[in-house]
C-alpha cells in the first residue's frame, strides 16, 4: 500500500478484512510480526515518536472520557502534544462544535463524537491524517461537510488516508484507493484507473420497437459485437465506438432510442473484487470474501504487499 503525499487515499475492505488492524499497526498500537512500514519517510514503529507529531488519526469508533467537555478533551490532548491552546478553538470551529464545546462528551450523539474525533486528529495540524470511518453517525449535511473538509485539507497539502464503507463518498473524495480482502490487497491505484480496469465497456441498447431486438442482435453479432439479450433491451460488449452501432443498425432500418455506456461505480467494483455481492437467499459470513493467494507474508525486510 502506497499513499502519495497530498492525496486523499481510500482504504477499503469488507468487515474483518484487516483495515483497522493495518491502521493500528501503522500507528504503533499493534506490534507487527513482519514487513516494513514507513510514514513521511520514517520507518515505523521505530521512528514513530519522531513522526507522531505530524500524524493525526482516529481509529475505529471515537472514544473519549465521557465526563469531560469537548474543550477539556481537546485541551488535554493539546497539552500532551505541546499544541498551542488557541488551536483548540480553531478545530472546534472547523468541525462545527464550537457552540457545544462546553458540554460533556457523554451528552453528544455519535455524529458529534465523530466530529470531536476529527477535531482531535486535526488538532496538531498534521501532515498526514488517518481517519477510520470518519462519516460514521454523521447526518447527510455532516457527510457533505466532511467531504468538503477532506478536499480542502488535501488542497492545503495534507495527505489523507480514509477508511470507509460509504463507497459513494470514497469515489467522490479520493484520488486513489487500496482495496483489501482477508488481509491481502486486491486492487490499488487512482480511482479512475481502478474503475477503468474493472469496467466491462458495456453499452445498453434500446430500440423504438421491442420486436426489432432479435433482428438487431443478429446484425450486431455478425459485426463481431458480443450481445446479451434482455426482454426490453440488449447489452453490448466489445463496442469500440457507439457510433458504429447506430450506423450498423440504421443500415438495417432499425432506429435506436437509447444507447448508453454502462458506467461502473466503486461499489460494484468493490463487491466484485471482494466477492461480497449479496446473493438472494444466502447469508454471507464475515470471512466470506475473496482470498488472494500471494507469497507467504514476509517476516522481516521487504515492503510487504
Amino acid at each position: 500500500m502506497r499513499v502519495e503525499a497530498g492525496q486523499v487515499h481510500g482504504f477499503l475492505g469488507p468487515n474483518g478484512s484487516g483495515k483497522t488492524t493495518t491502521l493500528r499497526t501503522l500507528l504503533g498500537l499493534i506490534r507487527p510480526d513482519g514487513g516494513r512500514m514507513s510514514i513521511l519517510g520514517h520507518e515505523v514503529p521505530a521512528a514513530l515518536a519522531e513522526v507522531a507529531g505530524q500524524v493525526g488519526a482516529i481509529v475505529e469508533s471515537p472514544q473519549f472520557f465521557p465526563h469531560f467537555t469537548a474543550r477539556d478533551t481537546l485541551s488535554l490532548l493539546a497539552g500532551a502534544g505541546e499544541v498551542p491552546a488557541q488551536r483548540v478553538d480553531e478545530v472546534l470551529e472547523l468541525v462545527g462544535l464550537s457552540g457545544r464545546a462546553n458540554e460533556r462528551v457523554k451528552t453528544y450523539s455519535l455524529g458529534m463524537k465523530q466530529r470531536l474525533a476529527v477535531a482531535s486528529a486535526l488538532l496538531k495540524n498534521p501532515r498526514l491524517l488517518i481517519l477510520d470511518e470518519p462519516a460514521n453517525g454523521l447526518d447527510p449535511g455532516g457527510i457533505r461537510e466532511m467531504r468538503t473538509l477532506m478536499r480542502n485539507l488535501a488542497e492545503s497539502g495534507m495527505t489523507v488516508v480514509l477508511s470507509s464503507h460509504i463507497l459513494g463518498e470514497i469515489q467522490l473524495i479520493c484520488d486513489s484507493v487500496t482495496i483489501i480482502s482477508l488481509g491481502r490487497r486486491v486492487a490499488f491505484g487512482p480511482v479512475e484507473e481502478v474503475l477503468a480496469q474493472h469496467s466491462s465497456g458495456a453499452v445498453r441498447l434500446r430500440l423504438d420497437a421491442v420486436t426489432d431486438l432479435p433482428l438487431a442482435a443478429t446484425a450486431l453479432t455478425r459485426a463481431g459485437v458480443r450481445v446479451t439479450a434482455n426482454p426490453d433491451h440488449l447489452m453490448l460488449a466489445g463496442v469500440d465506438k457507439p457510433a458504429t452501432v447506430t450506423r450498423l443498425l440504421a443500415e438495417q432500418g432499425l432506429y435506436v432510442s437509447e444507447l448508453t455506456p454502462v458506467a461502473v461505480d466503486l461499489e460494484s467494483v468493490f463487491l466484485d473484487l471482494t466477492a461480497t455481492t449479496p446473493v438472494p437467499g444466502q447469508h454471507r459470513q464475515v470471512d466470506q470474501s475473496v482470498r488472494v493467494d500471494g507469497p507467504p507474508a514476509p517476516t522481516g525486510g521487504g515492503w510487504g504487499a
Binding site: 498500537l29 515518536a49 507522531a52 473519549f64 465526563h67 497539552g79
Partner: protein
C-alpha cells in the same frame, strides 16, 4: 514535562478524584468533630464529679455486699445448703474506698502525647484508600474509555506515558497528603488543647510523630501505586477494585480462618494487615499462646515473634516491584485494541 503537567491537570479535573478526595477529607473531619464532642478538658470540676461518682459507686457496692452477707447469714441459720456462698459469711466484704479509683469516672479526654500516635493510623488508612481507588480509576478509566489509545496516538512512547501518569498520580496524592497530614496534626493539637492536654511533648515525641506521619504518607503512595498497576494490568478500574476485594475477603479473611483451623504458629504473620500495622507502629509482637517458655521464676511465657517495619518495607518493595513491573511489561508488550 508538558505531558506531566497535562496528566496532573487530567487527574484534578476528574470528578472521581474530586469526590473521593472530598469523601476522604470529610471522614477525617468527622473524626476530628467526633473527638471534639466526645472529649473534655479535665479540671477541678471534672475531678470533683469523678470523686462523687466513685463515692456513689462505692456506697452502692457496700450496700449490695451487706445485703448479700445478710442473705448468706440467713441461709446458714436456716440450714440451707447454698454452695454459692463462702463457708464463712464474714468473707463477703465490701471493697475499700481506695480500690475504686476516681480517675475511672473521669470523662474521656484527649491527651495529645499518648493518643496522637494511634490517630495517625486512620489518617494513613484513609489516604491509602483514596490513593488506591483514585490510582486505579485514573488509569483504568483511561483504558476502558479509549483515552489511553488517544494519548498513545499523540505520545507513542508507552512506558513514558504510563510512568508519567503514575508520576502525576503520586505528585497529586502527595499534594493532598502533605497538607491533609499538616491539617490533621493541627486540628488534633487544637482538640487536645481545648478538650484534653498537650502537656509532656518533647522533641523526641514530635520526631516520632513526624516519622509515623511520614510512614503513613509512604503507605498511601504504595497503595496508590499498587492500585494503578493493577488497573493498568487489567486495563480496567474493576481489576484493581475487584482484586482488592478478593484479597480482603478471600486472601485475608479466608486465609485467617484457614490458618486458625490449621493452628499455624504465628498465623497473623501471613496476613497483610499485620504488616500494615507494623509499618505504622514500628513493631507488632505476635504471641503463640499454645507454647510455654518457662522463666527462671517458673512463669510460663508465650513464644513471641516481632514483625517490624523493616519486614513491612521489604514486603511493600517486593509488591511494588511485582505489580508495577508486570504493568510496565504488559504496557510494552500487549497490543492496544
Amino acid at each position: 514535562m508538558s505531558l506531566f503537567r497535562t496528566e496532573l491537570r487530567r487527574l484534578t479535573k476528574r470528578r472521581f478524584t474530586r469526590w473521593t478526595t472530598v469523601g476522604g477529607l470529610l471522614v477525617l473531619a468527622l473524626v476530628v468533630v467526633g473527638l471534639f464532642i466526645t472529649n473534655q478538658k479535665i479540671g477541678p470540676e471534672q475531678w470533683a464529679e469523678a470523686k462523687r461518682s466513685a463515692d456513689q459507686s462505692h456506697a452502692e457496692q457496700v450496700r449490695w455486699v451487706e445485703q448479700e452477707r445478710a442473705n448468706c447469714e440467713r441461709a446458714k441459720a436456716a440450714g440451707e445448703n447454698v454452695d454459692y456462698y463462702p463457708a464463712d459469711c464474714a468473707e463477703i466484704a465490701p471493697p475499700a474506698r481506695e480500690d475504686i479509683r476516681d480517675e475511672w469516672y473521669l470523662p474521656s479526654t484527649f491527651i495529645f502525647k499518648s493518643s496522637f500516635q494511634d490517630m495517625l493510623i486512620p489518617l494513613a488508612a484513609i489516604l491509602a484508600m483514596v490513593g488506591f481507588v483514585v490510582g486505579a480509576s485514573f488509569v483504568g478509566a483511561e483504558w476502558s474509555t479509549g483515552g489511553m489509545m488517544n494519548l498513545l496516538l499523540w505520545r507513542p512512547k508507552r512506558l513514558t506515558v504510563l510512568l508519567t501518569k503514575l508520576g502525576a498520580l503520586l505528585t497529586g496524592l502527595l499534594a493532598l497528603a502533605l497538607p491533609a497530614s499538616a491539617a490533621w496534626f493541627g486540628s488534633l493539637w487544637l482538640v487536645a488543647n481545648w478538650r484534653g492536654s498537650t502537656e509532656g511533648m518533647t522533641s523526641g515525641t514530635w520526631q516520632s510523630f513526624l516519622l509515623t506521619g511520614l510512614r503513613g504518607i509512604v503507605l498511601a503512595l504504595v497503595a496508590a501505586t499498587v492500585g494503578f498497576a493493577l488497573a493498568s494490568l487489567g486495563r480496567h478500574t474493576a481489576m484493581a477494585l475487584g482484586g482488592a476485594v478478593a484479597v480482603i475477603v478471600v486472601g485475608q479473611g479466608g486465609l485467617a480462618i484457614l490458618l486458625d483451623m490449621a493452628q499455624v504458629r504465628f498465623g497473623e504473620a501471613w496476613l497483610l494487615p499485620t504488616y500494615v500495622y507494623a509499618w505504622m507502629t514500628k513493631t507488632v509482637t505476635l504471641e503463640d499462646w499454645r507454647s510455654c517458655n518457662a522463666s527462671y521464676t517458673g512463669e510460663c511465657n508465650a513464644a513471641t515473634l516481632d514483625i517490624t517495619w523493616h519486614h513491612s518495607s521489604l514486603l511493600f518493595t517486593v509488591g511494588i516491584a511485582l505489580f508495577l513491573g508486570a504493568a510496565l511489561w504488559t504496557m510494552r508488550r500487549r497490543d492496544v485494541t
